[in-house]
């Protein structure tokens, strides 16, 4: 089971790495924020898997905290930093 937990954690980390493309690429600021948000929930899953793999229950508290706080940055973005004129070049 240890092997499964670590494999899945590695897989999710790979998922995050691939998702970075969207932060780099954009095109809109919302897309970047969205991708960063994905990192948050995937990191929660990785932390829970590592909790199982290492047996250190303190990691569960880290996951809980991340779940609570992942929203704060997104809220800061929506409330403050989102430019009013967004370049609408959403074509792929």
């Amino acid at each position: 089971m240890q092997i499964l937990y670590l494999t899945l954690a590695l897989f999710l980390l790979l998922n995050i790495s691939v998702g970075m493309y969207r932060i780099i690429r954009g095109p809109s600021t919302a897309d970047r924020m969205l991708a960063a948000q994905l990192f948050g929930s995937t990191a929660v899953a990785i932390l829970l898997l590592l909790t199982l793999a290492t047996g250190n229950s303190a990691l569960r508290d880290v996951a809980l905290l991340l779940a609570l706080l992942a929203a704060v940055t997104a809220v800061a973005f929506v409330q403050r930093a989102w430019p009013n004129r967004e370049t609408d070049d959403d074509d792929e």
């Binding site: 499964l4 969207r22 899953a45 829970l48 909790t51 996951a63 609570l68 992942a70 929203a71 967004e86």
Partner: protein
Amino acid sequence: MTMSDYLSATLLITGAIFFLAGTLGLLRFPDVYTRLHALTKADNVGLGLTIAGVAVQAESWAVVGKLLLIWVLVLLAGASVAHLIARGAQHRGIHLWKR
């Protein structure tokens, strides 16, 4: 491996597949709304399945409660943030993708 190990492994692997689906959606979908849709839903289900898989292995009910709390919080935050971003995008005149 016991019965609960198999159950847990199945749930965890299914969860990881949902995460993969979310990431694929993030990369391949054409506009911010569809990406939002793919990501928020797939990831929340993926995390829910992962949490279910972890909860099967939990040593006490208190731990199950904490895991459930984590999921509820992520659902709450994810849904709210998705709404805020979608509304903001619409407000700023980002167009919906049309074929």
